[in-house]
Amino acid sequence: AQTVLAAEVKRYVVEGSRAAELDSCVEPTERMRRMHFEFIKHQRISTVHEGIRGTKYSLAGCVECHISYEEQQPQPIDRPDQFCGACHAYAAVDLNCFDCHASVPNGGGLDAEAQAAHRAAGVEKLVQSGRNGEGH
């Protein structure tokens, strides 16, 4: 069931995120709206069990691209006014991934992965993220 998103449909891509400047998600947008959770579910299995890090549906990748900034600070993506959070609040779907996953990009090591995803999606790497948590 593929349909094109009509213009009046409510959008969640947040101002100031990298996604806001691009035309398409890693898949056609209306497909993402319907299927994103399937994609990342498969991704997580192959990552955790098989060690595959380089595919485009990486959760860290989603966060990278969809994160928005306020005064240079990335805003947790599951917050009710942010990309994932807003839509999930609207649809009343529990989003507990970020109980464990970082809700702001902070993984230096994962930049490479993000790059791979971006390459696959045909986008340039625009955001530089700092690695937190070191040096305690």
């Binding site: 349909t3 009509a6 319907r34 609040a89 009343a92 529990d94």
Partner: protein, 243 residues
């Protein structure tokens, strides 16, 4: 697309009107009809609170049905409880913001949906396999079961196989409140689901689905057993007295 959206918008306005007007009419009719005699099925509670409790047991647990037929009870209760959960889950399409309790029970709606379909299937099988029930079953009974099963199955397929855009659906329905037509996703399953739901709404006030409000008006269940203590007399019967 625009045609579909307009068609469904109209359909739902119409269905909602029929449902509400029909139900209001029936409720008014029921409450306007007097119950001239005390006919609770005894042993019955002797106080109002007792009656409320009895009614709750009937509505929530289907107590009488439990005593009557265990198999029907199991399937019937599964279906209704499932339906109830599904309804709660569906509320998220119609409210914004979604109240916290609904958010909480929302995921259970999926199990509700499964239970509902299994229950309905059980009830339907019984309509063929038990000769007594077969005898009393009319075409409309089959049709209603079919309708509900189809609604359930199309919903479950959307949930598990052919995902649809929930967010768009929600804005469509929220838009209906303010006569602000938002596009509806064109997924065939969704359109089927919605069409059947509209049909259900339309037939509700004209069919045996009236059992839901009916139960609350059933004198054998909602009367207090206190005829010796309190005189109970209907207006039309009072007129006889004045003759």
């Amino acid at each position: 697309m625009a045609f579909l959206t307009n068609f469904y918008a109209f359909l739902f306005y119409f269905a909602a009107f029929v449902l509400v007007a029909g139900l209001v009419f029936k409720l008014v009719q029921y409450s306007a009809t007097p119950a001239p005699l005390k006919i609770p099925t005894t042993p019955a509670p002797t106080t109002r609170t007792g009656v409320v409790l009895r009614m709750m047991r009937e509505v929530v647990l289907f107590e009488s049905l439990f005593r009557g037929n265990k198999w029907t009870w199991i399937f019937g209760w599964m279906f209704h409880f499932g339906l109830f959960l599904v309804t709660l889950r569906h509320l998220r399409y119609f409210m914004d913001p979604v109240p916290f309790p609904i958010q909480l029970v929302q995921p259970f709606g999926i199990y509700g949906g499964l239970a509902m379909v299994v229950g309905l299937a059980g009830l339907w099988v019984r309509r063929f396999s038990v000769d007594r029930v077969k005898y009393i079953t009319s075409t409309s009974d089959h049709l209603i079961l079919a309708l509900l099963i189809l609604i359930g199955c199309s919903g479950l397929l959307m949930k598990f196989v052919f995902h649809t855009d929930v967010v768009e659906i929600k804005s469509f329905f929220l838009g209906l409140y303010t006569f602000d037509l938002k596009p509806l996703p064109g997924d065939p399953l969704l359109l089927l689901h919605l069409f059947l739901v509209a049909s259900l709404m339309i037939i509700f006030p004209y069919s045996k689905l009236l059992h839901a409000p009916g139960l609350f008006f059933s004198p054998t269940r909602n009367q207090v057993d206190n005829p010796r203590e309190q005189r109970h007399i209907a207006p039309w019967a009072k007129k006889l007295e004045q003759q």
